[in-house]
Symmetry: C2
């Protein structure tokens, strides 16, 4: 009897490794499509990508997987398994239960559709041509609705999607959390707008050589401890981090000549994601646990490095001289303090990925509300540009001059990632809550940043978060580390304290 | 009945497309490993690559494939099939018959081994450390010997390997062809060595900016008609061309600061390979015929563009001014004629890929003889550096100072590609034989080159060779196009005529 489950465990591990190989191929194909694959190969590539995703999906829902789970997912076996094996069984079971409901042919046509769509979206964004992208997006939404039917709606149809990115998160909870956040941030934004004490950003209106931007991005990634022996930096339309295996965690950025801060902060952002995956327990390799535990926790790490570290006063006290060296003369008459203030200017703007960390949450709330309308209220895709523009006017007081900088600005929907956007604000909230604890446990936290000494901070994060990968649930992590559940007040406290100082309120 | 084979044909096409998707993933993983994948991910990558290759292999030897072939590969069905379908059935049958003899687990461990080995080889080459690579190479040779046993030896054990790269080629035929070639080339090389009229290459001994080399390489690829919408240029230790799908045919080169000609001619070389695959009949996409028909024919195209075109007087009469523009001042006192003579200097040298087109064949004959010894005479891998150095002394009068520029210089053996090297000289011979026919059919051939007008030449090659892909056998092509079988005299004629003029013999 004992012999039997041990053999099953070996087979289970092998099957997971096999699925992992497919996922690595799919991830590489996706990375390649976004970083420079030739356009004429995109159609055949999309077919190949869809086929391999489907094979991985078939393995994950195979009779063999079902039987292995039935053998291993029993109390008398689970209690004998190592922590990693037990968590793997439970994780795979969850995925199996969800995936088994989707017919393989539906899954394949969905994968092919979304693989094609990303290229179409790129073109549409470039040409501000929503009409050219609309039929595809309509099909993606329709197929997602179909999937919700297969999975079964949770509290609302949209909650089914939320759950995929942030386990057990509900729109009821999000409504509450976003509500508390808004109640404290809206007056803050208003006070800021009324303040005469605005940061000067004039000196950012220059052209910055792309090659030098790349060098500075590489430098910052090295400084934060990104391991280039286990990753690489490339350029793509939309910056992203992608893990191929635990020794190959890649980041991309986008060098914009007239906006040097864009690549700086996207390098810090994607670098934060990458530090999470580069510091996983290596024993997780080949298991589905070798990744972040949720999109929200993942985002907490990118936002932590981008904002709590990278937009802090200490960081620029230390690194401003390096920035000056990379762009000689261009910052001659600027002080570190001026630069710190400039990169923390609060402004109601159009583009989410370039928004300040305060109004950023409004960009997310807009998307959250629109996604709820799409899936709970059957909003037609055709209506998206109109609704988008209305909400930007309502929340931020500005209307996008075209859809390229409006509804088409983000890659997410072209890949079917509905329910993902709230993760960004969750990330902000988690990050602030973690930072509050770090400050207690590493009292010289700010001093370390001001010296560019990130090792103790990275080690703390590795010890508490990174090494576990997906083997601890988000709620478990936040409770274990901070002693309480998700609490939006930490983010509000952090933002109030920081921005009242900057704006002299 | 008719209905039945039509259904089988659809299934057969689908299965081939599926195999093609795996092959695309495997090719992308290989490209990525060679162009910049981080080292710490290489081990997991090798596992994934081995697994996916094995899956493709299993599909190609599956019961389903066997049954489909049994249904379709019958005279009464074949005669009703389109030319492409019929050729596909026959091609897949050949591959099936060969592959079915190898047990899947043997194939998988071989794929994992060779995937690991390439990284090991790179290190060994860099450090001139043959001992560090020897155990792996020994294992690769042993496994290849085992495969020869499974396939069954042809006329000799080595002939079994030759046949894989050049169908039906035998070592008996090669001995004869290489013999005839040697008989004419050796006296020519001797006369050249005795000539006082040597090209001046002093002006090549400069440092050339790598960024400018890249720009010039990109320029030349564009000029020859390489389609960057269906490919890209990257850097790798060993230049190569790889086809992912018919719309994605990539090339790489290696920028060497003190040797500008290396990247120039490897761009033309790999560009020649790429033109072949970029100009396939698009209807071949998804079939195993969407590739070159043999390594020899493939090499004929790379050698044609590199040597017949790129090392011609007319080419540099036209492009020397562009070279000068890319490297201002560096060629100020040089004439096109001097440059033409310099890039055609005959010299007994160490590195195959940098050898002139005359002695190049000696580099190949050395490898050919060593490979025969490895597989027919059980030469021990341990002996390779000694034998290598002896043969270089015997044939070229020089001894490599270390194994990095000796026996470790080529990537081929690390990937198990034994029997591949002769393709390079076959390529030279085919290229010269094709060029002889082109000159009759396009009388202003040399004039077109001197104007940089390659379209008529590329169209001729597409019409006669490229579009067919693997749907015509090499022997069929050479006979149909030139009216006779492979004849080494065309290469000897071409080389004699060209080099007698250069060296004033």
């Amino acid at each position: 009897m004992e012999q039997e489950w041990k053999q099953k465990l070996d087979q289970f591990r092998e099957l997971n490794k096999k699925i992992k190989s497919y996922n690595e191929a799919v991830a590489l194909m996706a990375w390649d499509l976004r970083t420079g694959a030739p356009r004429k190969g995109a159609a055949a590539r999309a077919e190949a990508l869809g086929m391999l995703s489907t094979e991985a999906f078939k393995l994950g829902t195979s009779k063999e997987m079902g039987e292995l789970l039935a053998s291993l997912n029993r109390p008398e076996v689970l209690e004998q398994l190592s922590d990693i094996d037990r968590r793997t069984v439970l994780d795979v079971q969850e995925d199996y239960d969800r995936s088994i409901k989707i017919p393989a042919d539906k899954f394949q046509s969905y994968m092919v559709l979304t693989a094609h769509s990303e290229t179409l979206w790129e073109d549409a964004k470039e040409n501000s041509d929503f009409a050219g992208f609309e039929p595809n997006l309509t099909e993606i939404v329709a197929k997602t609705q179909e999937f919700i039917d297969y999975w079964g709606p949770r509290a609302t149809r949209y909650d089914t999607l939320l759950h995929m990115y942030e386990p057990d998160l509900t729109s009821e909870k999000l409504d509450e959390v976003f509500g508390r956040l808004k109640a404290r941030l809206v007056p803050l934004v208003e006070a800021i707008q009324a303040s005469p004490n605005k940061p000067d950003t004039e000196f950012l209106n220059q052209l910055f050589d792309k090659g030098q931007q790349e060098k500075f991005g590489l430098f910052l990634l090295k400084e934060m401890g990104y391991d280039f022996e286990a990753g690489r930096l490339d350029e793509s339309v939309h910056p992203f981090m992608i893990g191929l295996n635990t020794g190959d965690i890649r980041v991309t950025t986008n060098f914009i000549q007239d906006d040097v801060t864009s690549s700086i902060f996207s390098c810090l952002h994607e670098g934060g994601h990458a530090l999470y995956e580069q510091n996983l327990n290596p024993e997780l390799e080949g298991t589905p646990l070798a990744t972040g535990t949720s999109m929200g926790i993942h985002e907490s790490q990118s936002r932590f490095w981008e904002n709590m570290v990278g937009r802090s006063r200490g960081f620029w006290e230390h690194y401003f001289k390096d920035l000056q060296q990379h762009f000689p003369q261009q910052f001659d008459n600027v002080t570190p303090e001026q630069f710190y203030r400039a990169v923390n200017k609060v402004e109601n703007s159009l583009i989410r990925i370039e928004a300040d960390e305060l109004t950023y949450n409004l960009h997310i709330i807009i998307r959250y509300e629109i996604e709820k309308m799409l899936f709970n209220d059957n909003l037609s895709v055709k209506e998206l540009p109109r609704i988008w523009n209305e909400k930007y006017e309502q929340y931020l007081g500005i209307v996008p001059p075209n859809d390229g900088v409006g509804v088409l600005q983000d890659v997410h929907w072209s890949g079917g990632s509905f329910g993902y956007f709230p993760s960004y604000s969750l990330g902000n909230m988690y990050a602030a809550q973690f930072a509050n604890t770090i400050r207690k446990e590493i009292p010289n936290f700010d001093e370390l940043i001001a010296k560019g000494e990130f090792t103790p901070i990275r080690e703390w994060l590795t010890e508490k978060i990174y090494r576990y990968g997906k083997s601890r649930k988000p709620a478990e992590l936040i409770k274990d580390i901070t002693g309480e559940d998700l609490n939006p007040d930490y983010l509000a406290d952090y933002l109030e304290s920081k921005y009242k100082a900057i704006y002299g309120l």
